[in-house]
Symmetry: C2
Subunit: 210 residues, 2 copies
DNA sequence: TAGATTGTTAATCGATTAACAATC
DNA sequence: TAGATTGTTAATCGATTAACAATC
């Protein structure tokens, strides 16, 4: 419909370019090339240049790309040049692992509140945060201007939680519950499902003969 | 090269079909259609029929698919009609969350051993398992006939761990470390990276005006 | 039978890649 | 300058979809 719309598949590769640029920067490299980024990711150099060309010109012929500059530009494009507040639903083992993982902060996200429905968990502290009652979801979301939620609850609770999130105005959901969720069209969702990854790898493994 | 090779993108959708079939089965449904599966997943019915046709004929005209039969066949195709032993590397918060998550077992995988390099963790128990020294990796892999590993260690350790896994004969790796790994061609890898998912959603969110 | 749904072909659509002029 | 690498066009490749005969 929109002739300027950028293919979603391109958008999904930009975070990978960012990962690679961060790595190169940490290794002290200041300049890189589409070839080098591609080699690291197993993607062709042409594809990387083509992807970037949707957004502008970021390199210099003969030289390549300034690592910091390109990183900065891609952050701006993905809108991660600002900080996004998240709410985390679910304070079980997975929730705790998510809270202790520094990668969200590094990626431009900060977890502003943790909520759970379990009375035994509500009020307990995890790191800097106190687990809140899921009933106070609307307040937590309003207070921190949250538009993104991370769902780390059992499959059986996931749809209810997601319905509540949508009612509270959340526009993007990262779900660790491995079941397809029903959502309005204007709410984005991404699934984290390790079993899906494992199951597509077993297809390629030689069958065991024992 | 191989004219009979099935597109990887098709293989990656089969686990999603399995998820949906399991859900339908749990809801007591015995028969389904490509339309219904597609509606749940946001995929066209035609695509599902086309995907299945790479492997054979599983339905009945006018009726649809027997839920249990199709589930069984797809499990067979992906080789998850058997049990795969995994080793888990990393006994931190994430490792514990992975161990407490029942989804692996349900999906055809069982975690046979947990290993870590941290002296303070080695010897401690998590659930049914005792954390082993990473140095005993080759023995653990041989003992349990392991060909798949789950990596839940910091980025700084990931490449070393993966090198050791490859040396020990592992052929598939599920990595929670968000950095591209260097691997031989015959070793499969899947990445679990929540930040990549979040960062591609922020692209689509309306910019905040404050 | 009539209605429903599959499996498959051919057409369309979109993504990747090869090639190369531009230029640092 | 010569060599390197970008940005972009056109060609190729592959995936999705529309259409429909087959048939339960």
């Amino acid at each position: 419909m929109n002739p300027l719309a950028i293919p979603e598949i391109v958008i999904r590769r930009i975070p990978l370019y960012l990962r690679t640029l961060a790595l190169l920067r940490e290794q002290g490299q200041t300049v890189t090339s589409s070839q080098e980024i591609g080699d690291r990711l197993g993607i062709s150099a042409t594809q990387i240049r083509k992807d970037l060309s949707y957004f502008g010109e970021f390199g210099k012929q003969g030289t390549g790309y300034d690592v910091r500059y390109l990183e900065e530009q891609l952050c701006r494009i993905l809108q991660v040049d600002r900080d996004w507040s998240l709410v985390l639903i679910g304070a079980g083992h997975l929730g705790k692992a998510i809270l202790s993982y520094g990668g969200f902060e590094e990626g431009g996200f900060s977890i502003a509140a943790v909520l759970d429905k379990d009375r035994r968990k509500i009020g307990s502290r995890i790191g800097d945060l106190e687990v809140q009652d899921i009933a106070s979801l609307p307040e937590a979301i309003a207070e921190h201007h949250v538009r993104i939620a991370v769902v780390a609850v059992p499959v059986s609770d996931a749809q209810d939680v997601v319905d509540a999130l949508v009612d509270a105005g959340v526009k993007a959901i990262l779900s660790y519950a491995p079941s397809p969720l029903a959502l309005p069209e204007d709410v984005h969702v991404e699934y984290i499902d390790p079993v899906v990854g494992l199951q597509s790898m077993t297809y390629y493994l030689d069958p065991l003969h024992r």
